[in-house]
């Protein structure tokens, strides 16, 4: 577990690159250097294919860096026991990845269960999490297919938070939802983050989402990090890609 007194960044990319396997493998990420501080919400913003998801998957070692070094909690991801690493990192993806053959309750309890928590503690934790993400206790026994898109996404967040991981990775978690549910979940996320203070890395291509949720915004393009700015800096920035991003999304910010 992470010690709170440690002032080093939670996640540190040092000249990290990622190339697809094979001799002719395309390079998806070039020389990324980036520090992600404890308790911040770092947004990875960029269009499809800019390397956002690749960056995210390097953190929980679903992908291994081809070059450079990536430190999580001051230790290189390749030196971590990968199972331990992943269990201290919550993971939420767009398609939710909920297990269709498990009830909501079992989905949420997945990590506590494999970590052998006592049964009463698991039940308590599930109740607590359902409440935290604003879901009714009675949906605990339902299956994912019986839920709405918004509910499924909330369950996805609850599941990622189950074992109270210090880091949360979110890959376009609200991407597949209608605009109203989306706005609702964003508000809830902000509220949640204010209470929990997790280190969050959040992938999106939605500028509005980036500006409202991010502590800092990392703008990516074609596998390269272009700039890292706070939302306020982003709004006044004259950096060309930032400007073109703002232009493309309208100016009503």
């Amino acid at each position: 577990m992470m010690s709170q007194s440690d002032s080093r960044p939670a996640i540190e990319f040092r000249n990290v690159s990622y190339r697809l396997p094979g001799s002719e493998g395309r390079t998806l990420l070039h020389d990324l250097t980036l520090e992600i501080q404890r308790g911040e919400t770092l947004i990875l913003l960029g269009r499809s294919g800019s390397g956002k998801t690749t960056t995210l998957k390097l953190i929980n070692h679903l992908l291994a860096p081809s070059g450079g070094e990536l430190l999580v909690d001051n230790r290189a991801t390749r030196d971590w026991d990968v199972i331990r690493l992943r269990r201290m990192i919550g993971y939420v993806i767009q398609e939710t990845g909920l297990f269709p053959h498990f009830t909501v309750e079992r989905n949420i309890a997945l990590v506590p269960r494999i970590e052998n928590w006592p049964a009463h503690r698991i039940t308590e934790r599930v109740d607590e999490l359902l409440q935290l993400v604003g879901l009714d206790r009675e949906i605990a026994t339902r299956y994912p297919r019986e839920l709405s898109g918004g509910q499924r996404q909330r369950v996805g967040v609850a599941r990622a938070l189950a074992a109270d991981p210090p880091i949360l990775l979110m890959d376009e978690p609200f991407g597949a939802l209608d605009p109203i549910t989306r706005a609702e979940l964003r508000r809830e996320f902000l509220d949640l983050q204010q209470r929990l203070r997790k280190t969050v890395v959040f992938v999106t291509h939605d500028l509005r989402e980036a500006l409202s949720l991010g502590t800092r915004i990392a703008l990516m393009e074609a596998g390269r990090l272009v700039t890292v700015q706070t939302p306020a800096e982003f709004l006044t920035s004259t950096e060309p890609l930032t400007v073109s991003y703002k232009d493309a999304c309208g100016t009503d910010f």
Binding site: L85, R86, I89, T96, G97, F99, P100, I114, R159
Partner: protein, 210 residues
Amino acid sequence: MNLYQFMLHNHTEVLELTLEHLWLVGISTLLAVLIGIPLGILITRWPVLNKPVLGGANIIQTIPSLALFGFLLPAPWIGERADRIAILALTLYALLPLIRNTYVGIKGVDRSVIEAGRGMGLTDRQLLFQVELPLALGVIIAGVRVATVISVGLATIAAAIGAGGLGEYIFRGLAMVNNQVILAGAIPAAVMALLADISLGWLEKRLSPH
């Protein structure tokens, strides 16, 4: 003497041959499940083995059944008893649908579900037993169903090498040019295939994730 009278008159023999038939099919299917499902899982883990394993099982399927029974006659230990030969041959035939369906079933599990499971720190074994196999179960049972139905039909040929089963009546009837005797073997075999198909079909439906 009509078919009904024939079966009534010989009911102990009909029952005996039916049980023999069930035994041949049951044991061979069980063996095929015990070998085929692990092999199917194995080739999802080591894609290099995919082609040789599926190719091998495919080639076995192309050998005419009567010839396969014949090939196995000189085999040591196996060749000593007709029922061993029959069980081995039926097992080999049942392998392809089992290996293939296990493989296809696991590969067919939604990528995002696998990715989420891996990302949350499930070990390969946990992923297999808690996620992949339960979600592939419907497809795997469908493989068992196909294998069983094929087996019931093929097992009639086992009588040609003296392994017993309902094929006895079919071969006897052919030799006597007596349709009644042929049907006394063919009808119970058909009923058996139908029952296996219906019950395993029901199980497949029940165990498929929705």
